[in-house]
Symmetry: none
Subunit: 422 residues, 2 copies
């Protein structure tokens, strides 16, 4: 999950000034004795939540290898007394907290996977109230917060109208391409039975991501004949085409409003230092909440790659073969949005304001993209506290209790208003 | 060992037409009854030589892991009655055949290591007279030929004037960076006591490699802060610096005479498709037989890398950190040459011609580079027969006896002329 800006285009989605009803719903929730008891539990059990964050962070969950963390999370769901606990065929962990009425569920999810490959050191390092570890902000903290909410609701004996389905999803990041949440809404048992969808992803409790940034991702493989670095010098080198393609892509100045981004992210290939490679690849990521701008960038990107291939085949000899580029799509996330006057957004705005916060509206690419694409009310919220450097090995969160618990309390208030409380 | 061309510049090293004296030396050798007896032994024991080739080929000798093959080779040296047999501290196997006069030794070496990693199937497959296995041509055949020469000299009771030091070297290939022969001439017992150096590496007995192509190799690691591909878009990307560096390097037009080459060969790095990488590396190879031109290219290369880093830090934000490049030398082979009128070359030309061959002059990067760099007469010769596809898993040799024995006979004649025979 990642912060973003709100484009002026998307601001058109805002309708106002209404929001009276949700404010009332949230006010009713936060003023109740039961909610105060739940909030007190969040505070009283904060150390346990921190311990859960550390436990979950230290179970590696590389892309496509979330199984070990999923098993541990399922055991935690079971220990928390959730019902119908299961790991679905895609690998998502599901656990139900029953409500008082029949009807569609409110999903509260966080993602199990990290961006970090196998072998990354995921040991948590603590400095005062700051915890450092890859994946700790994105999204291990949120997994632990779901458990804290479940305990707080039980301790306060809160009965929601709708069932709350807690979910740990797989494949939110990168090449995972939302596979967990895609399965959930494509083939899962609740696919036609979801009232609202909260993705808890990231930190800042004042962020409401109601715009799903679309993305296009490609692995481009540059191929050539290869040969001896000395004996075959002068023939085309796919690495040279790759270098030019990356350099030329980075000369593109995309619009900032709507925000459009690209990244040359992962690279690999080659045989040995004394061989002209026969193959190198690069993985590229392109994003925008604006589908037309994203399509424009994608076309520019393809032209850059193809231009670099043509240039390489002109610059050096093709006597033993030419350079070519092969595009393999590795990600295609739909852009989408949940209107600001949808109850899920209005409730969350009200909850943030109820605790003195000032909501900011974000565009991002998260699990919420999938339900947005199906017209299901969905947003992504932060789990509380502060943190930073997500997707880097210096990733950190601050578990200083006041800010941490305040964020958790805001999220719980919003969810309860959406699920309804008897 | 690898073939290359002879630049016109280097042709200046040729002096002629002389060569009378070496022709006489070689003529004296090849016309002697003792040499004919030695040649007859090479032919008679050819099956044993083939068996030794297979035995040695099937002992894996990956880069830096030649110890098992070295032990077997030491045992073979001992069984052949060589003196002062030892494995030196670097891992080279040494065995002396005493001559009749005091003075510096003539080294006859082959390399123990292959380019193939651990786990490569090195089982020899035979089809008629063709033997297939990784490393069989480069350079296991030569190791066995050294043994055959030792037996032939003993059988013919040939006494050389100079001692002949047979050597199996480690680390000739790739990252080994000539570590065996460097040790031999840097710290070994014979470092100041070597008269001439034959590297027996490869197959064709008409090839005389008297030009040592120098190389400089670097792993360049581009580092940056890394971050989220969307959230942190706009910060510097080490991949962009890498791309520009590769593209700019490939815009350099090096001289063709003397030949100067470069290659961007191996690349890797990155965290995930949705992360700006914090680190990518490229391995570069640069070569020339002309040390001044190689140094010039190396300076251009470094300027290109540094320029790309500066450009990237100007093109994008360094607010969370700047891009840098770290140079790790991974290879540094001295350029060198042995003049064509040096006795070692002239003797070898004469030996090839004495058996009806037509010498070709090669430039390459082999163990002979090290003594050339110290002004010690040194060349690389083939061990006989035919073969091909070195450095590939389809590597092969043909042990059809006529061509195989002819090549061994040529090499022995050249070595004897250089060592002198009473």
């Amino acid at each position: 999950m990642r912060r973003a800006y709100l484009s002026t285009l998307l601001a058109l989605l805002i309708t106002g000034p209404a929001l009276a009803a949700p404010k009332t719903d949230v006010a009713k929730v936060v003023n109740s004795a039961a909610f105060k008891a739940a909030a007190a539990t969040l505070a009283a059990e904060h150390d346990r939540t921190v311990a859960d964050i550390i436990t979950l962070t230290e179970i590696p969950a590389p892309p496509f290898k979330e199984a070990e963390r999923a098993k541990a999370y399922r055991a935690m769901f079971e220990a928390h007394g959730l019902r119908n606990v299961e790991i679905d065929p895609e690998g998502n962990v599901l656990g139900l907290r029953k409500g008082t009425r029949a009807g569609p569920v409110v999903v509260v999810s966080a993602h199990l996977d990290t961006v970090f490959p196998e072998g990354t050191n995921v040991k948590v390092r603590r400095e005062g109230t700051k915890l450092y570890a890859p994946g700790i902000a994105d999204d291990s903290r949120s997994l632990a917060v779901l458990l804290a909410w479940s305990r707080a609701l039980d301790a306060a004996k809160i009965k929601t109208r709708s069932d709350i389905l807690f979910v740990g999803t797989v494949g939110e990041e990168g090449a995972g391409d939302l596979r967990g949440v895609r399965y959930f809404f494509g083939k899962g048992a609740y696919k036609d039975n979801t009232k609202a969808f909260y993705s808890v992803d990231g930190i800042d409790p004042a962020h409401i991501t109601h715009i799903g940034v679309g993305s296009k991702r490609y692995r481009v493989t540059f191929k050539g004949p290869g040969g001896h670095s000395y004996g075959a010098f002068g023939i085309v080198n796919p690495m040279a085409a790759m270098g030019k393609a990356v350099a030329d892509l980075y000369a593109i100045q995309p619009p900032t409003d709507p925000k459009v981004t690209y990244s040359a992210s992962v690279v690999g290939g080659g045989t040995s230092v004394n061989s002209i490679p026969d193959k190198v690849f690069v993985e590229f990521d392109m994003r925008s909440a604006d589908a037309a701008e994203l399509a424009k960038l994608e076309a520019q990107f393809k032209a850059v790659i193809e231009g670099a291939v043509v240039a390489e085949n002109k610059a050096r000899s093709t006597r033993v073969g030419a350079v070519s580029a092969e595009f393999t799509p590795i990600g295609d996330r739909p852009a989408g949005a949940t209107p600001k006057d949808a109850a899920i957004v209005a409730n969350t705005i009200a909850a943030i304001e109820a605790f003195g916060g000032k909501p900011t509206f974000e565009a991002s690419s998260t699990d919420a993209n999938a339900p947005m694409g199906r017209g299901i009310p969905a947003i992504t919220i932060g789990s509380g506290g502060t943190g930073g450097r997500a997707h880097s090995i210096d990733e950190w969160i601050d578990v200083e209790p006041t800010a941490s618990v305040r964020g958790m309390t805001i999220g719980l208030a919003a969810i309860l208003a959406t699920a309804g409380v008897d």
